[in-house]
């Protein structure tokens, strides 16, 4: 066990074992990318259950352990290996057929992320190196590839990938086109609400920063992605997943008493849909305004990793496209109400802001659904959609209670609103 290596590992943002006791860390694989650069897969074990496998790119020598990915030369080395579809030991690099890769002059590591490290090359391509290595098909690579090959304009095309040979398929990284001139849907939505709140007496449809046009186009983009995924990977009929939703409800109610107040009402909404056939297919799985990018041409969906914290199998299971729709609709409420979570202001002012936030969220929900229906052919079923929104809001309540208690009112308000509606 290398103490220096462990010290390095435990300081990384993507290290997930911070609250556990590490008992051992052994390299499962060391591949020399260059004389002084190693790609290392490190198996970490804990005293309380299953361990984790991490991917590191390390510089050897001088007795010092350090991350080498921040060095543009090293990052470009990985890029070149993908371009050449090289194989080094058990690590396979592969360029997508006909993909145009940048030559790689500049490379910069993007800001810290939870489970990946991203390197941007020449503002043209982005390499996502997976830090947590899991056996199984990676849904982000899988769906990005399917959408790219189908020519979908709503995805940043896949350019290449890295994986581990032998044993079950294991993804190490993916290279995609970088949407250089893009902004997150979240930032754009917040810019719009900012504009609204600065006006004393104008309605959401009257202010210059109205976002409804963008919401409609976003709805079209999401519908188009769903249609492409259904066409490429199939769709089927399943029963409304009442048990799964009830399980989540029970779990969250146990830890967040405020949800208990609504539990009976939520349950009866779910029960009313019991036995109802629904369409299931591959979906994004964790869609919200932070997972969509506005480019000069269109809206893109990014990060097809599925629901965080779930197993790969679960993340790849067919699900209702309404889960994605509900994700965006919930995100509108967050964008509209985030100003209110900052506190301050008198009761009167807060009441007024809340009314305007609701109005903004309603307007953009409606526009998104219109766009979704235009491009998808059908207006989402209201009762089903409400159930998926409830499921999402229950999940959010659990999350907020744990991490951001002052945001808890937000999902609770949404739950109250839906069950009373």
């Amino acid at each position: 066990m290398d103490s220096e290596l462990i010290e390095y590992l435990t300081q990384q943002r993507w290290y997930a074992g911070r609250n556990r006791k590490l008992t051992d860390a052994e390299p499962a694989l060391v591949v020399a990318l260059r004389d002084d650069i190693d790609l290392v897969l490190l198996d970490v074990s804990y005293d309380d259950g299953p361990g984790e496998r991490y991917q590191l790119v390390l510089r050897q020598g001088d007795g010092e352990v350090g991350d080498a990915l921040g060095d543009p030369e090293v990052a470009n080395l990985l890029l070149a290996m993908i371009a050449d579809s090289a194989t080094i030991g058990p690590v396979s690099f592969a360029a997508e057929p006909d993909a145009e890769l940048p030559a790689g002059e500049t490379a910069r590591v993007m800001g810290a992320e939870q489970s990946n490290t991203s390197v941007v090359f020449d503002e043209a391509a982005i390499l996502k190196l997976f830090r947590r290595v899991l056996p199984g098909v990676n849904p982000d690579i899988e769906l990005t590839r399917v959408l790219s090959r189908a020519g979908s304009p709503h995805v940043a095309p896949l350019l290449g990938s890295m994986s581990l040979d032998g044993g079950p398929e294991t993804a190490l990284g993916m290279l995609a086109r970088f949407a250089n001139n893009a902004a997150e849907g979240w930032d754009m939505a917040v810019a719009s609400t900012r504009d609204l709140y600065a006006e004393g007496d104008l309605y959401a449809n009257e202010v210059g920063g109205d976002f409804a046009g963008e919401s409609e186009r976003l709805g079209q983009a999401v519908a188009a992605v769903h249609a492409t995924l259904a066409a490429e990977l199939g769709a089927a009929t399943a029963l409304f997943p009442v048990d799964t939703m009830l399980e989540r409800l029970a779990a969250v109610t146990a830890s967040v008493p405020q949800v208990g107040e609504y539990a009976a009402a939520i349950e009866s909404r779910y029960r009313a849909l019991e036995g109802q056939p629904i369409t299931v297919q591959r979906i994004h799985g964790d869609l919200h305004l932070g997972q969509v990018l506005r480019t000069p041409e269109t809206w893109l969906l990014i990060d097809f990793e599925g629901e965080p914290g779930q197993s790969l199998d679960h993340r790849r299971a067919p699900d209702s496209p309404l889960r994605d729709v509900a994700g965006i609709l919930r995100s509108y409420q967050y964008a509209a109400f985030q100003r209110l979570t900052e506190g301050g202001g008198n009761e009167q002012r807060r009441k007024q802001l809340a009314a305007r936030a609701r109005e903004w969220a309603d307007r953009n929900r409606a526009a998104f659904c219109t766009g979704y229906a235009e491009a998808g052919g059908t207006e989402p079923d209201a009762e089903l959609l409400a159930a998926y929104e409830l499921d999402k809001a229950v999940y959010e309540a659990g999350y907020e209670a744990r991490h951001r208690p002052h945001w808890l009112d937000l999902p609770l308000g949404a739950i109250a609103n839906i069950v009373s509606g």
Partner: protein, 578 residues
């Protein structure tokens, strides 16, 4: 006109004096700042209540002081004025109230002496129905002008061509009671289209070009170029024959008058307009310039939405243009703010945001000046002007906008944006010494925009006036050719309210790099820029020459006030730095 044998005689350029010409320069228009001025509205030299060519000549020093490189004059030809002078009665004669051909030559000469060029509108597509050619054509179908216009026994031909002025015209055909045939007109029925299938018409129009070019004019804005020819089964726009004729005109320029320019007015999407620059292999062999129409409403939309994407979108859709070509870009001009090149949804948005009073609408557009469109917000006016001066293309200013003049929406048609230039707080805004009742339209007396409050004299003496600010920005722009002819690259960034781009020009082994950062939001914004390409460079702010912190490996952070902008020159590191 000698009507005895049906011949219409025209003067020759040799009958007049010629203006001195500026040194030959085939690319001046790519670097020029244009200024559109209406002769009638600028300065009245003879107290008849209407501006004239001599008046304009008297005020050239003002334009020189401001930093204008080229004046664009809407038509000043003899005309019955049923369409603002775009209905030309005689191509060889100046509208008497504006002066004479001699006055025009004197204007050209005085402008050239100051290094200022002059271009004017030329309507190629049609004439006034009062033009002698048309009168001859209807009187004598077999005479020399019988075939100068597009005549037909029926009104059934070319049904696929749209009617452009839907408010006033029902058809593109009108029956003429004299000739007892229908004549073709894409615009008003009093503006019959010339028949370009007749070689004599092509010759006659090229003779018109030669006449004014011989006198020394620097170029023409060709009005309504897409409509010159008609072909059954087409929409009669942008036909190959039209392009072939423009190539002929360009050859006349290149062979006989190098350095003069043709500017196409084609109100279409940029991807379609580029055809009017001609063959890129030759560097362009039709028009030197064309207006970029959709950019302007997108600038308004982007600032109102506090999002760069309306602008980014249209620039991303704008194709490359030939080496010897340039876009003309503008915020406002003598027409309404035209909304033909936006979607229906965007048009509704523009109306609701910028034309709150129904009288502010005209045809498919908004008839307002820049300052009132922006609610007289100085910060926004500066931001808009900074965008105009730094986006790709040669900027066209509209007279009076440099002092923030307002409009009079109660005047008919588009006269509201064509009121007299406000020179001073004196009678008639210093525009004319005529009895106020004689003015063609009154100057603005609005408490905010009226001439007592807004005029050149007062603003010239105030350091921080809009006029002096505009003059400074024109001077800054002139110091960096990158603004005019540099490459354009958007830098993007995560803040949707920030529009950031780099203009770069290589020359003499050095690269002139200008960085423009614009905050389209009314609220202060932080902006993080990835400037890795310029690691080690120092941004130098261009109006005050203040050095900003050196660019490093990390994202470069700037903060901007609401509607703020920066222009930086990026200075390369010199020698070995520690």
């Amino acid at each position: 006109m000698d009507a005895s044998n049906g011949g219409v005689e025209h003067p020759s350029a040799a009958d007049f004096g010629h203006a001195r010409v500026l040194p030959e320069d085939r690319t001046w228009f790519k670097r020029a700042v244009f200024y559109e001025v209406l002769v009638r509205a600028f300065y009245d030299s003879d107290a008849d209540g209407s501006g004239d060519l001599r008046g304009l000549t008297e005020r050239l020093d003002y334009l020189k002081w401001l930093g204008v490189d080229c004046i664009w004059l809407p038509p000043f030809y003899d005309s019955p004025l049923r369409d603002g002078g775009y209905d030309i009665r005689d191509f060889y004669k100046v509208l008497p109230e504006f002066g004479t051909v001699e006055d025009f030559v004197a204007l050209l000469d005085a402008a050239h002496r100051r290094g200022i060029r002059v271009i004017t509108d030329l309507v190629m597509n049609h004439t006034s129905d009062a033009h002698a050619w048309f009168q001859e054509s209807r009187r004598d179908p077999t005479g020399p002008y019988g075939d100068y216009y597009v005549w037909s026994d029926t009104s059934e031909k070319y049904q696929d061509a749209r009617v452009i002025f839907v408010d006033t015209e029902e058809s593109n055909w009108t029956f003429d009671a004299v000739r007892k045939q229908f004549y073709w007109h894409r615009f008003f029925s009093h503006q019959p289209d010339l028949n370009y299938d007749n070689p004599a018409v092509q010759e006659a129009m090229i003779d018109v070009l030669r006449f004014w070019l011989d006198l020394g004019i620097d170029g023409f804005r060709l009005d309504a170029v897409p409509y010159l020819f008609e072909r059954e089964g087409t929409n009669c726009e942008n036909l190959p024959e039209t392009h072939a004729f423009l190539k002929r005109c360009r050859k006349v320029i290149d062979d006989e008058f190098p350095g003069r320019v043709l500017l196409a007015e084609a109100n279409q999407w940029p991807a379609d307009v580029v055809a009017y620059f001609g063959d890129p292999e030759t560097g362009g062999d039709e028009c030197h310039m064309a207006f970029h129409f959709p950019l302007m409403p997108r600038i308004f939309m982007a600032v109102r939405r506090e999002s760069r994407f309306p602008i980014s979108e249209i620039l991303a859709q704008t194709p490359e243009i030939p080496d010897l070509a340039q876009w003309g870009i503008f915020l406002r001009n003598h027409d309404e703010l035209t909304l033909e090149m936006v979607t229906d949804e965007e048009r509704d948005y523009m109306y609701s945001e910028y034309a709150k009073d129904p009288r502010m609408k005209a045809n498919v557009g908004i008839r307002r000046r820049l300052a009132p469109l922006l609610e007289n917000d100085r910060n926004q006016t500066e931001l808009f002007t900074a965008l105009l001066l730094s986006l790709p293309g040669s900027p066209v200013l509209y007279y009076g906008d440099e002092i923030g003049m307002g409009d009079i929406i109660w005047l008919g048609d588009r006269d509201g944006v064509r009121t007299p230039m406000q020179w001073s707080a004196d009678r008639n805004a210093g525009f004319s010494t005529a009895n106020p009742g004689r003015l063609y339209v009154p100057p603005s007396q609005d408490p905010v925009y009226g001439y007592q409050a807004v005029n050149v004299e007062a603003q010239r003496d105030t350091t921080n006036s809009l006029l002096n600010w505009t003059r400074t920005m024109l001077a800054v722009r002139r110091r960096h050719d990158a603004f005019a002819v540099g490459s354009f690259r958007e830098l993007g960034g995560s803040n949707p309210s920030a529009l950031t781009y780099v203009r770069e020009l290589e020359g003499d082994g050095e690269v002139d790099t200008v960085l423009c950062v614009n905050n389209l939001s009314r609220f202060p914004q932080p902006i993080e820029l990835n400037l890795q390409h310029w690691n080690g460079y120092t941004p130098v702010e261009l109006t005050g020459r203040v050095e900003f912190p050196r660019i490093g490996e990390l994202p470069y952070l700037l903060t901007l006030p609401g509607h703020g902008f920066y222009w930086f020159s990026l200075r390369a590191p010199v020698g070995e730095e520690p």
